[in-house]
Each structure stands twice: as structure tokens, then as C-alpha cells.
């Protein structure tokens, strides 16, 4: 567990003991981690960071509506097979052609198969799994329990190393109980003010302490508002910090908040809500308190 903690520190991913224990257990129990949370809290980043910590390949499957097995698992290289057939037309002997055409050479590996066949234990990041259809989800949880797939022409392919699987979900829809049962669950919330200060310090080291604290407090206040739909993510906090640093500012002010608010809030409706319900003056005052 201590090694994982050090690993996170080395790659600059500021986190808490809950994340460390969950990752540790997932590794020990060889179970996928299902991470849920608001957009922008660092779910995908956690998957990427695991690849860095364990110095292993990160295989990413980005999910979307309509994703199917062909795009996620494997496909036969139809063009290459056709070329082979064309070449074989001229040849005298056609023995074993069929067997040859459906060999590994003609198989196009997609992320899931790639993860199963990897030589070193990889990190398989299945991003935004809530965007897939239920049929694909059912297929996925079969794969995640056995870590083997059946290719009719080749037989069953079993994983030589069980991949470290990270599934992320924005909770746009409820995932099935079957999938959840097979996973270890982690809910990532927005960081506390103290943790966000640490994140800013780690990622934007040149910024002064006073401004760091003010930024973290201001972002925290905006996130508390229920009416703001797209709350500022950690990445947006960092962008804001970098922007303020570029402007050579060492403290927040009402004017500065007004000028740079569009870095944190990206829709007209959210900016209007902010102006009505919080206001640049109140935000500045709260951040300075």
C-alpha cells in the first residue's frame, strides 16, 4: 500500500487514503475498479496514472453509444484476407488456405483483446462505460469475470496476465447490478479545499500561496451552488490558476473574477446563474476570508 502511495506522489497525483486502499484491494483481489463521480474530478486521470505508476501499457477503450464487439474486441482483416485469396488464385496448391486465413495474422486486435493478449499486465481503461448500450455492458461483464474470449475460428483466448481494469462512469445512467457486483467501487468527489490547494501547488508550482488558497476557496464556493449545471473541474481550476499566473496577479479581486470567469464556467446559463446567485464581489470576499 505504501508503494502505491509513493507511486501516486511521484507522478504528482494528489489523492487520499480511500483511493489508495481501493486501488490496492483491486490489485490484490484482481477485480476491476468502477469509478463514479462528477465530470472533471480525475476519474480518467486515475486510470492513466496507474499505467505510469506500474510502468505498464495503458490500453484505452473510449465508450460511446452504439459501441459493439467488433470495435471493442476484434475484427478480421477482411482486406488482407481478400488479397491473400487473390494471390492464392495463381498458386497451384490451396491446402490449408482457410486455416491460414483465420489465423492470428489476420486478426485485428481491438482494445479488449489487446489487453487480454498483452505480454505484461496492462492497465485497461474503459472510459465512460455508462455511454454504452446495455447489450454491450452485459458482454463486458462476462469478459471481466473470466478474462477470456471465444473467437469461433481460433478457440478460446485466455488472458496470460489479468489486466488492471479501470471503468469510469459519469453516472448518466444506472449501470447494471451484474457489472457492479464484479467491480470494486470508488466514488470520487470534488476535492476538499485543502486537497485542491495541494493539487494547485503540485501542478502550478510558481503560483503564490495566498492566490492558491483564494482560488481553491472560490472554486469550492462555485461548486456548492446547486443551480450551476457544469461545475468547474479540477482541470479548469488549474487553467484558472495558470491564467492568473500569466496575468501576473498575486491576489483575487472582483474585477479579475469578472474578467476570467469564463475559464471556470463555460455556458451562458451558468455565468448568468453565477452573477445572480453568487456574484464576483461575494466570491472575491469569500476567497479572501
Amino acid at each position: 500500500m505504501e508503494n502505491i502511495r509513493k507511486g501516486f506522489e511521484e507522478v504528482g497525483y494528489i489523492t487520499d487514503s480511500e483511493v489508495i486502499i481501493t486501488v490496492y484491494l483491486a490489485l490484490k483481489l484482481e477485480k476491476p475498479i468502477l469509478i463514479e463521480g462528477e465530470p472533471g474530478v480525475g476519474k480518467t486521470e486515475l486510470g492513466k496514472v496507474l499505467g505510469q505508476i506500474f510502468h505498464t501499457e495503458l490500453i484505452r477503450l473510449q465508450c460511446y453509444e452504439g459501441l459493439d464487439e467488433n470495435k471493442a474486441l476484434y475484427e478480421w482483416n477482411y482486406q488482407k484476407q481478400l488479397l491473400k485469396i487473390q494471390i492464392m488464385k495463381e498458386a497451384q496448391s490451396c491446402e490449408n488456405v482457410e486455416q491460414d486465413l483465420f489465423s492470428q495474422e489476420y486478426l485485428l486486435e481491438r482494445p479488449l483483446l489487446k489487453a487480454i493478449q498483452a505480454e505484461k499486465k496492462p492497465v485497461l481503461l474503459i472510459d465512460e462505460v455508462d455511454k454504452t448500450d446495455e447489450e454491450f455492458e452485459a458482454f463486458l461483464f462476462e469478459l471481466l469475470s473470466d478474462f477470456q474470449v471465444s473467437v469461433p475460428e481460433l478457440g478460446t483466448l485466455t488472458a496470460s496476465h489479468i489486466p488492471m481494469v479501470v471503468l469510469t462512469s459519469n453516472n448518466e445512467r444506472e449501470l447494471s447490478d451484474g457489472l457492479k457486483r464484479r467491480c470494486i467501487y470508488l466514488f470520487l468527489d470534488y476535492p476538499t479545499i485543502e486537497r485542491e490547494i495541494s493539487i494547485i501547488k503540485a501542478k502550478v508550482p510558481d503560483i503564490n500561496e495566498k492566490l492558491t488558497e483564494q482560488i481553491a476557496k472560490a472554486v469550492h464556493l462555485i461548486r456548492q451552488n446547486r443551480e450551476i449545471k457544469k461545475k468547474p473541474s479540477i482541470a479548469e481550476t488549474l487553467d484558472w490558476a495558470r491564467a492568473l499566473l500569466t496575468l501576473n496577479e498575486d491576489s483575487l479581486s472582483e474585477k479579475l473574477v469578472k474578467q476570467t470567469l469564463n475559464i471556470l464556467l463555460k455556458t451562458k446559463a451558468d455565468i448568468e446563474t453565477f452573477n445572480k446567485q453568487i456574484g464576483a464581489h461575494a466570491l472575491d470576499e469569500f476567497a479572501r476570508s
Partner: protein
């Protein structure tokens, strides 16, 4: 009782199930395995390990934490809790016995349930005196002379008075039925869990929407908007997949492969377009539904923010189209003010038959064979027969009628209108936010 770790974890998971967390046996095994990898002397590590394998929903985390803190409390604390629980039980028993002494008619005990007697014991002295006074007057009135079997009548009147009192003092008494496990230790934890229920999302999910307190309304509104979004996100993803999902487009394939001498080198496909179902929302804003009104609008607002293909109507005495108010990016509060100000039907009586007739006559274009009609109402309406007739007529025009009934499911049997409409439509309980959450998981559009 066995004191092994295994036995303890099994009891703990049993408790979690009683507290409403879904835990499968596979997860219990995972929990035991997980404990072999953590430091037992570190309480937080044990808690996190168990939480990560046993809890799979954000909303269940708080319940888990409270259950864990109570179940794995230090021994002295547990004993103290147990003693307090026992004292509360004894006190309640005594209060019921005292109530029994008061609630008599001509020296005979009134036939009342334990719950009724407990209700009486919780009343203020003044209210108690009023009931005792009534009983004395009934005795003095010698009602038996003209009605020998007057006791059941007296009992009904007393029960009615008790229920009326409960209705006007909903926060003064806790009548929640708790499962008795037969294990005193688990019972006290369950009772504690019930008493200290947070006013957070968890408890709101299970509360009758009609009884949600004003201070919790913003939170409830936010939840319902989120649930509405979940519901339609599911709908918008739904499409039938068949083996013909990808059809070969022969014309384009031949044209594109002429350059390869006719060998079908590049295949071109035709994909079936994803058909998102059309929805017609019909929401009851009559007097009986007034408490739900803002939530009803949140529900419509949530659906509109995800799905464009939707027609919304509100109804009470008659029907009113409100789809035009839901423009992208519109502010909800302003929208609510606009609708309430302009509406002529807000808070009126319920004439669903008339509303359905208006829908059929004035908006026939929306009633198409691929549309689902969703009715959100407590079914309380005038002219059940005519409403049934209208529902039958409309059902022939649309794909299906789905009814989200805000009446508690246990009252459906006693409601003539619910019983009448049930065979004709697909009816789903929608009395609590949890009911709506269940809907988001079920395949209602099938």
C-alpha cells in the same frame, strides 16, 4: 453467538441489507478476502475496504458509514446503546399500557391497534382530555338503549380522531415499522439508523413526495430533475438491435470497388437509424396534486433538457400545452413563474376525460403510432367511465400509455379509479423518488 470475523461480517452484511443496501453473497466473500489484505488495527482501513466492496452506489455510502460506526462501535458504547434501546422499548410498552387504561368504554377496552394506542400516548394532555371527555359523554348518553352494539362505532370515531391528530402533527410521532431481526443488538442499530436518518438525498429518496418538507424541496427538485434525465437517457439509448443492424449497401459497394476490378475489397454498410421514441407527457396539476406541482415541472424540465422529441401538457379541469416554455437554456425559476402565471388550469379540479378529449381533438398530430403517452397523476378524477372511454380511444392511436401513479401502491386497491385504469395502461408507482429511480432501471419502454 459466534464471534469469528466471518460471523461478524455476515451479520454486518445482513444489517446492511435491512438498511436498504443491496449486498450479494459474492460481495460478502469479497469483503472477507479484502480484510485479509488490510491492517486490522486501522479502523479507517477496514471501513474503506468494506465500503469499496460492499457499497456500489453513491447514495448508499452514508448509510454504510452510519451502520459501520454503530455496528463496530467500542464495546462500552454498544452496551450503552443497547441499554438505552431497552429502556426506550420499556417506556413505549408502559405508555401503551397507560393509553389502554384511558381508552375504555363502559369498563371494556376499546379494540385498537398497538399503533393507535401509541399515537394516543404521544398526544398532548389537552387532546387526550378531549378524547376521554368524548368517551365519558358517550357512556353518559346511554347510547346502548337505542343501539346495543355502539362500541364499534365509538372505536371508529376514536380511530378517526387519532388519525386526524397524526395528520396535523406528522413530525411529532415516528410510526415507522421496523423489522425485528430477533437479535437485540441488530434491532437497536436498526432503530438508531431510522432515528438518525439524515435529511440528505438518502432519506428524501424514500419519502412520500407529498410529505417532503419545504426546506428539503430544493434538494428534492434537484433529485427529480436528475432522475428525469436518467429516465430519458435510458430511453434515448434504446433501439432494437438485430442481425440486420448493419446492412450491406450493395450499390455503394459495387461503385466503390470498380477501381479494384470488381473485387469486393471495401465493403459499404447501411446502418439502421436509431429511433428515439416520441413522448407525450401529461401531468396532473390539479388541487390534489398541488404539493407535487413544482416537482412535476422539474420532471418535465429534466426530460426536456435531454430529449427534444417531446410534447408536454398539464391538466386539471382541462388541458394546456406547455412545450413552448421549455426552450434550451431557459431558467427554471423563470419558467415556473411563467407557466403558473399564464396557466388557467393550475390547482383546479380533475377532469381527465375532458383533458384527454381536448388532447384528441386539438392536438391529433401528436398522437402517432410511435409515441408513448406518459400520464403523471394520482388517478383521482371525475367521471371514471368517460375517462376510460377516452383512454381506450387514445390507446388505439399511440404505441402505449404509461401511467406514473403518485398514489402509494398500498392504496391502489382502495382507489376505484386506479383499479379501473390499471388493466388499460401500464401503471408504475411513483410515490417516492426511489420509485422513480427504480423506473430508470426498469425497461418501461418495451
Amino acid at each position: 453467538m459466534e464471534k469469528t470475523i466471518e460471523a461478524n461480517i455476515v451479520r454486518f452484511t445482513h444489517l446492511l441489507r435491512l438498511a436498504g443496501i443491496r449486498v450479494g453473497s459474492g460481495e460478502v466473500i469479497d469483503a472477507l478476502n479484502a480484510l485479509t489484505y488490510v491492517d486490522f488495527s486501522d479502523r479507517e482501513q477496514v471501513k474503506t475496504a468494506l465500503r469499496s466492496v460492499l457499497v456500489k452506489r453513491k447514495g448508499e455510502r452514508e448509510v454504510f458509514d452510519r451502520t459501520f460506526d454503530l455496528y463496530f462501535a467500542p464495546l462500552e458504547e454498544r452496551e450503552r446503546h443497547q441499554m438505552e434501546h431497552q429502556m426506550r422499548q420499556d417506556q413505549k410498552k408502559q405508555q401503551i399500557e397507560e393509553a389502554q387504561q384511558d381508552l375504555k368504554f363502559e369498563e371494556e377496552n376499546l379494540e385498537l391497534t398497538e399503533e393507535d394506542k401509541y399515537l394516543y400516548s404521544q398526544m398532548d394532555q389537552e387532546d387526550k382530555e378531549r378524547i376521554k371527555d368524548y368517551l365519558q359523554k358517550a357512556e353518559a348518553g346511554k347510547a346502548r338503549e337505542w343501539e346495543p352494539n355502539v362500541k364499534p362505532l365509538i372505536e371508529t370515531i376514536v380511530k378517526g380522531a387519532l388519525r386526524r391528530w397524526l395528520h396535523s402533527h406528522p413530525d411529532q410521532v415516528d410510526l415507522q415499522e421496523r423489522v425485528s431481526t430477533g437479535d437485540q443488538e441488530l434491532d437497536y442499530i436498526l432503530e438508531d439508523l431510522g432515528q438518525k436518518a439524515p435529511s440528505g438525498e438518502d432519506s428524501l429518496m424514500y419519502e412520500d413526495m407529498q410529505h417532503i418538507k419545504d426546506k428539503d424541496l430544493p434538494k428534492a427538485n434537484m433529485l427529480i430533475r436528475r432522475l428525469a434525465k436518467h429516465l430519458v437517457t435510458r430511453i434515448s439509448r434504446r433501439y432494437k438491435r438485430s442481425k440486420r443492424h448493419q446492412l450491406l449497401d450493395l450499390r455503394r459497394t459495387i461503385r466503390d470497388n470498380i477501381r479494384y476490378g470488381g473485387t469486393m475489397f471495401k465493403l459499404k454498410y447501411r446502418s439502421k437509424r436509431i429511433q428515439k421514441p416520441k413522448l407525450i407527457l401529461l401531468c396532473d396539476v390539479s388541487g390534489s396534486m398541488s404539493r407535487y406541482a413544482s416537482m412535476v415541472l422539474q420532471f418535465i424540465y429534466g426530460i426536456h433538457s435531454v430529449l427534444g422529441n417531446i410534447e408536454s401538457f398539464i391538466f386539471s379541469d382541462d388541458l394546456e400545452r406547455i412545450s413552448q416554455h421549455f426552450q434550451p437554456g431557459s431558467d427554471f425559476n423563470q419558467l415556473m413563474v411563467d407557466i403558473m402565471n399564464k396557466s388557467r388550469v393550475w390547482g383546479g379540479g380533475t377532469r381527465l376525460h375532458q383533458s384527454l378529449k381536448t388532447l384528441r381533438k386539438n392536438h391529433p398530430a401528436v398522437l402517432t403510432s410511435d409515441a408513448y403517452l406518459i400520464v403523471l397523476s394520482d388517478t383521482k378524477t371525475e367521471s371514471i367511465g368517460e375517462t376510460l372511454h377516452e383512454l381506450r380511444t387514445i390507446k388505439k392511436c399511440v404505441k402505449d400509455i404509461l401511467w406514473l401513479n403518485t398514489l402509494p401502491e398500498q392504496e391502489w386497491q382502495n382507489s376505484a379509479s386506479t383499479r379501473a385504469f390499471q388493466p388499460l395502461v401500464k401503471m408504475y408507482p411513483s410515490n417516492t423518488l426511489n420509485d422513480i429511480e427504480k423506473l430508470t432501471r426498469s425497461k418501461i419502454f418495451a
